[in-house]
């Protein structure tokens, strides 16, 4: 049985925080709001107080706990490597357990009212046509990210695809016998919003003769549900995916979404021993491609005369796992682009699972900083490795009245490969 850790299970990890405050330099939410309750150190103090019974689930407590993108920026810079993002997620589950998920929602709602965002309830709802939204399973992260009544009409969104990616492709695409077989864990972003990035991935793997299986039974990784504190949703999704992993034969599981990668490698292993054996098989697509010598193959292609400038945004969920070089290696090897580094490429885009839904104003503040760095880099395109980041980056660029486009690295890869 898949079981997420309880807040109590984090007792020791909470004690590891020595209150040095180093996280204040790296937390995007703190950077935007400058209140100690927004930063990891404050949240850990609050979680500690909750465990000790020193604080109730009052409105400010709920607000502070909701004000976290679960990006792990604090973790990546923490001298004691405290996983605050996991502690906050566990606290949200604790809140949901004590007060019911809807109560947490209400608590957040009350706060939204304070920030004048509640009126969005009235305005929103038109972001997706009902017909298309019906295609998305009830438990998909897409639903949690875009709970129809909450979605801001101010937000620019990619259109949902009429035919999801997994319905477009066969269950298996055979490759060379001497090459590995991979299971492509598509994630909801590629399945519903950016199917062309999924097709680009298939093209790249075909190019190097790798066999790909795309099981139809796979479901959302559950990360947005982690963000919302919906424990049972996460657990049932994890179990469904576990049976997919158990019932297929392959060498690796590849992801092209940083959040899915994090869900599979950071959340699942803590849910039970049976998940452990899959952890080491999960590979980000660019890590896999670099290992397969793909970057060298790209580098052999003749360089284009008129290269376009492209910069890279590090998704938090890859940066936290030390995956920063491989996506850049692929970009640098592409013949049609000139790679330029932007300032603070590794800071959060501001999406943060359900965060941007409940705290769109703060999310926009964080995003606008990023949009500034993108513009300053002189790049025409900002490439990344996460559909969620792509969506947020494009929204931030649009709000800044800039012209750059956010793309998946895979989209650029597909451009130069033969049909």
């Amino acid at each position: 049985m898949a079981k997420l850790k309880s807040l109590e299970d984090f007792r020791d990890e909470i004690d590891q925080c020595v209150k040095c405050g180093g996280c204040r330099a790296h937390c995007p939410a703190f950077g935007a709001e400058k209140h100690e309750g927004r930063v990891a150190r404050g949240k850990i103090a609050l979680a500690d107080s909750l465990l000790k019974g020193d604080v109730d689930l009052e409105e400010k407590f709920l607000l502070d706990m909701s004000q976290c993108l679960l990006c792990g920026s604090c973790y990546s810079q923490c001298p004691n490597k405290v996983h605050t993002e996991d502690i906050v997620a566990a606290t949200r589950r604790e809140i949901a357990q004590r007060k019911g998920l809807s109560t947490f929602g209400k608590g957040v709602g009350a706060v939204l009212k304070n920030q004048g965002l509640m009126n969005l309830l009235a305005k929103g709802g038109g972001a997706f046509s009902k017909l298309l939204f019906k295609k998305i399973p009830e438990q998909s992260g897409m639903r949690l990210r875009f709970p129809a009544p909450f979605i801001s009409s101010d937000r620019t969104l990619p259109p949902l695809t009429a035919k999801p990616f997994r319905e477009r492709c066969p269950d298996i695409i055979p490759g060379d016998a001497d090459k590995p077989t991979v299971l492509f864990f598509t994630g909801c972003g590629i399945n519903f919003m950016y199917p062309e990035s999924g097709e680009a991935l298939l093209k790249a793997l075909k190019f190097i003769g790798v066999t790909v299986i795309i099981p139809k039974a796979q479901v959302c990784c559950g990360l947005p549900a982690v963000s919302a504190g919906a424990a049972s949703t996460v657990e049932s999704l994890a179990e469904e995916n576990l049976s997919v992993f158990q019932n297929n034969k392959y060498d690796y599981i590849v992801t092209a979404c940083a959040s899915c990668h994090s869900g599979l490698t950071q959340i699942y292993p803590g849910m039970g021993e049976e998940f452990g054996e899959f952890e080491s098989k999960v590979k980000d697509i660019f890590v896999f491609l670099v290992e397969q010598g793909f970057a060298d193959k790209l580098a052999e292609l003749p360089k284009h005369k008129d290269q376009i400038k492209v910069t890279y945004h590090d998704p938090c969920h890859l940066r936290n796992h030390g995956i920063t070089k491989e996506p850049r290696a692929i970009l640098k090897a592409l013949p049609q682009i000139e790679f330029v580094e932007m300032e603070d490429a590794g800071t959060c885009c501001g999406l943060g699972g359900t965060y941007s839904v409940y705290h769109y104003d703060t999310s926009k503040k964080i995003g606008s900083k990023k949009a500034g760095f993108i513009a300053q880099s002189g790049a025409e395109l900002v490439a990344t490795d996460c559909p969620g980041c792509m969506m947020q980056l494009q929204d931030s660029i649009n709000h800044a009245n800039e012209k750059q486009r956010a793309v998946h690295i895979l989209d650029l890869v597909a451009e130069v490969l033969p049909e």
């Binding site: 590891q16 040095c20 180093g22 330099a25 609050l46 109730d56 004691n80």
Partner: protein
């Protein structure tokens, strides 16, 4: 609990949104890096000196303690609200008001983060040297109040050496200027220097005038491993005697290196019993010469290995050993008492030997590293709070460490300050007449003892 009328008055002064009384908010402003926790009654985030003046007057009328707070990263409890009352958060004072390139000075607000300030002045080729380890988060107001130091202080001095003027709110609510934008000024007492390191007990800082230097063109890093701590210490003296003052002269002792070996896969040969991390800065053309000269000077002193960085990446790799120390220490024991004694630099090896003897006597690991160039040693007494008697042993060991440093002509704190953590011990260092002198100043300026009370002085004295 404060009277509702007081809360209402605070709301009137700073605005409703800037006055926090919910439990969750109070918890978030109840601690600093000492991990000691004291709940305030209210947290206020004022926006200007005038508001602080009104708050101080209100606090005086009603005898309510006020605790100024920057980023809350202190190691001695300087900002924690030990007696409830008002936490005065200075986060909103976050503007760099002026960078004067003709006079090489800057005027800033106290809530500006030190690293942000440094980054900003460096963009115009200027330089603010003090570099406490917390610089990415600590604020300039806190740096002034604690007189922060850092590795670069060997060559460049500490915070007080760069502060030439202040705007402050006195404990009784007057807004006054001390010093000013001139390099010289001897009219009356030097109140600016008095404020530096006064730990928020004499005034609330609301504006800071900082002296700047031209930014050195380049720097060069070298890491030298020695067969003994004596070799490393002699090297420090020899370098200084050789008329070279490096920017940085950091050392790690044998026990620290053990921790690093255990916790990381960094290449630290077993023969290395002490490490010096040396950095020189200045005009690019002189750096190679200085590095060569340093290598020559220290070669006879039991050098095991010398690594010299040629690029910024290589320099970062050398720093990695120093930067890995904090996390590595946790391999020894989960909790630590982090002291920062300072002795004359020639006495460093003697001090290390004393500390090793104390560690053996109490059978607790004590790990030392720090700023060898100025004799400032970070003494980390590693304990496990869950083990009975560990804390008691550590407290006894700390007293002996302090006594050892004082016997060598040193001080119990080079840069962290006294706060609440060292307050009981200051009679060891300061005579009764000195403490009386200081307390007379405090009492004259803060007759109701409402500004950061309970700090620096032992409660019974």
């Amino acid at each position: 609990m404060l009277d509702k009328k007081i809360i209402a008055s605070l709301q009137q002064i700073s605005g409703k949104d800037q006055v926090l009384t919910d439990k969750a908010d109070l918890i978030c402003y109840s601690y600093d890096a000492t991990q000691k926790q004291y709940l305030p009654d209210v947290v206020v985030h004022p926006s200007c000196a005038k508001e602080i003046s009104q708050i101080m007057k209100l606090a005086n009328e009603n005898k309510i303690p006020v605790f100024p707070r920057g980023a809350g990263t202190g190691f001695t409890g300087g900002s924690v609200p030990t007696a409830g009352g008002i936490v005065l958060g200075l986060t909103r004072f976050d503007k760099i008001l002026d960078i004067d390139e003709e006079n090489l000075i800057a005027t800033i607000e106290p809530g500006v983060v030190t690293a942000d300030f440094q980054k900003t002045v460096e963009k115009v080729g200027l330089f603010y040297p003090p570099d406490p380890a917390s610089l990415k988060v600590s604020t300039m107001g806190g740096n002034v109040a604690e007189c922060a130091g850092g590795p670069r202080c060997v060559k460049y001095g500490v915070t007080k050496d760069y502060i030439i003027g202040l705007e402050i709110v006195t404990p009784t609510g007057d807004v006054i200027q001390t010093g000013g934008p001139t390099m010289k000024g001897v009219v009356g007492y030097d109140l600016t220097k008095l404020m530096c390191g006064s730990e928020g007990t004499l005034a609330v800082i609301t504006k800071i005038i900082v002296k700047l230097l031209p930014k050195p063109e380049a720097k060069k890093t070298m890491l030298v491993m020695f067969g003994s701590i004596d070799g490393a210490a002699q090297a420090v003296s020899a370098i200084i005697r050789g008329k070279i003052i490096p920017t940085t002269l950091e050392f790690l002792d044998a026990r620290t290196l053990d921790c690093v070996r255990q916790a990381t896969d960094l290449d630290v040969p077993d023969a290395a019993q002490a490490v010096l991390l040396i950095e020189v800065d200045g005009d690019r053309e002189f750096l190679d010469k200085q590095v060569t000269r340093i290598s020559e000077i220290i070669q006879p002193l039991g050098v095991v290995e010398t690594r010299i960085a040629e690029t910024a990446e290589e320099s970062e790799a050398l720093w990695q050993i120093r930067r890995s120390v904090s996390a590595s220490l946790r391999q020894v024991n989960p909790d630590k008492f982090n002291e920062d004694i300072c002795v004359p630099r020639s006495k460093v090896p003697e001090m290390i030997r004393k500390i090793d003897a104390i560690a053996d006597k109490y059978k607790i690991p004590i790990v030392n590293f720090g700023h060898a160039g100025d004799g400032n040693i970070h003494v980390n007494i590693m304990v496990d709070g869950k083990v009975d008697g560990d804390y008691e042993k550590a407290e006894k060991a700390i007293v002996e460490v302090f006594e050892g440093a004082l016997a060598l002509g040193g001080t119990m704190s080079g840069e962290h300050g006294v706060g609440i953590m060292k307050a009981p011990f200051i009679p060891l260092e300061l005579g009764g007449a000195v403490i009386d002198y200081m307390k007379t100043i405090k009492k004259a300026l803060d007759p109701n003892n409402i500004l950061n009370p309970g700090k620096i002085f032992p409660s019974d004295a």
